[in-house]
């Protein structure tokens, strides 16, 4: 079967790619568009390392076909920062050392941004439940959750104290 042509908007830019029907959106992002920020951790929708935002909804790109993206708007981890300016979630991940190997981090950043877009003042419980689809083997999650709550405070215009060094 000939390749399918897909038109999308990714990180604010119109982007087109060719793919075969059985390629997942993750495959297309990484292999066709060379947006390798989204990672394949499990391929089965359990680990969240492939998380992207589709039309404002957090999804696993490994569980979508590339062809399903036709006509839709996607945000990947590459689109979270504004040029050189890090998103508060990214900044707080650095300040809190909320990563070690970093493999789960793109998924967490995208998922956390999606959370804060929807809920400006999540509780710790709400944050943990929202992020239940993102798995981390290194950190034990605590610093991740603190970073996300801290980023939320910054985005609300509060001035939270820096984490202890």
């Amino acid at each position: 079967m000939s390749k399918q042509h897909v038109s999308t908007v990714i990180n604010g830019e119109p982007m087109e790619f060719l793919c075969e029907a059985q390629q997942t959106l993750l495959d297309c992002l990484r292999d066709e568009l060379h947006l390798t920020g989204s990672k394949e951790g499990c391929g089965s929708g359990d680990c969240g390392a492939c998380s992207v935002i589709l039309d404002g909804k957090l999804v696993c790109s490994c569980l979508m076909l590339g062809v399903e993206a036709e006509g839709h708007t996607i945000t990947t981890v590459e689109g979270i920062a504004e040029g050189d300016k890090l998103h508060p979630v990214q900044q707080k991940f650095l300040e809190h050392a909320a990563l070690q190997c970093g493999f789960c981090t793109p998924g967490f950043i995208v998922a956390a941004k999606a959370l804060l877009d929807e809920n400006k003042n999540p509780t710790e419980e709400e944050t943990r439940y929202w992020l239940a689809g993102n798995l981390c083997r290194c950190t034990g999650y605590d610093k991740i959750v603190r970073a996300v709550l801290d980023a939320a405070a910054v985005m609300r215009g509060e001035n939270p104290p820096s984490p202890a060094t």
């Binding site: 696993c60 979508m64 076909l65």
Partner: protein, 290 residues
């Protein structure tokens, strides 16, 4: 994944034709959160994928006369965000909302959850408890059937070649009618039900139950409508005696297996516990819907 063909029809007729005409295995694509996993593992090897999401009415929730209509391919996030449906059937919404993670909720649908045929499906018990019907389109036209007639066994449905679920229809709830769904899983999130219990009750002004449906999931090859549990509730208030009889009826209806998530004995015990708790929530919600 192996090569596959893909089509996203824009009319129900085209979708039926594509499914019916496929020489090899054709699978319906809704949210993809079961289908793609199974394609990747090799459990299913379709030659054709027919995407439901461009079909009119498949994605969305609407009121139609005295019914609420839920498009088969509507994702969980849309269901949870629908205030009208959440007020009318909080049990259905909480069942759907328990499926997977936030990411899965962005795509997963009730039709997919139902037609995947897992005995542990979370959206199915409350949908059955609501006495929902499924509208099925196929080569012989449309038919509307009780949702409980769709799943015939683990991973198996009564859908014929060329058929798919278009939408679900539930009656608008009566005054003092409401529902609840609870499930038990070994983890906190992201797991498969050890037991799921949906209770839908209608009360009179005194708080006495006049109608009920109790549906258990994950304790038999298909969802179980527990007639004796409904009989335990009808004509009674939810006092300790009623709860005891409800608990016993729920336990008696279980035909579970022992697997890594729970033993037969444990599932039976938890079925009784969840029936009590879900009934308490449903009664409280129903009384508040005067």
């Amino acid at each position: 994944m192996p090569r596959v063909s893909y089509t996203a029809p824009t009319t129900i007729d085209d979708a039926v034709k594509a499914l019916a005409a496929s020489a090899g295995l054709a699978k319906v694509l809704s949210g993809g959160t079961d289908l793609l996993v199974q394609m990747k593992s090799g459990r299913t090897r379709p030659e054709l994928i027919v995407d439901m999401k461009k079909l009119p009415g498949l994605v969305g929730i609407r009121e139609e006369g005295d019914q609420i209509v839920i498009g088969g391919a509507t994702p969980g996030v849309m269901i949870s965000a629908d205030e009208m449906l959440t007020r009318a059937y909080p049990g259905i919404v909480e069942g759907v909302d328990l499926i997977g993670s936030t990411q899965i909720q962005g795509r997963a649908s009730i039709a997919g959850n139902l037609c995947n045929g897992s005995p542990a499906a979370d959206s199915v018990p409350p949908v059955i408890a609501a006495r929902a019907t499924a509208v099925v389109a196929g080569p012989n036209g449309r038919r509307e059937v009780p949702v409980e007639s769709i799943v015939t066994g683990p991973g198996q449905t009564s859908l014929q070649k060329g058929e798919f679920v278009v939408e679900f229809r539930v009656p608008k709830p009566k005054p003092r009618q409401s529902d609840a769904y609870l499930r038990f899983i070994p983890r906190t999130e992201m797991d498969i039900a050890v037991v799921g219990c949906a209770v839908n009750v209608t009360l009179d002004a005194s708080g006495t139950c006049t109608d009920a449906r109790v549906v258990l999931g994950a304790v038999a090859p298909t969802q179980v409508i527990v007639g004796e549990a409904a009989q335990a509730l009808i004509g009674h208030k939810l006092d300790e005696d009623t709860l005891k009889r409800l608990d016993a009826a729920a336990r008696a209806a279980c035909r579970p297996i022992t697997d890594k998530r729970g033993t037969i004995e444990y599932r039976i015990k938890v079925a009784g516990v969840l029936a009590r708790r879900a009934a308490a929530i449903a009664f409280e919600r129903a009384a508040a819907r005067a």
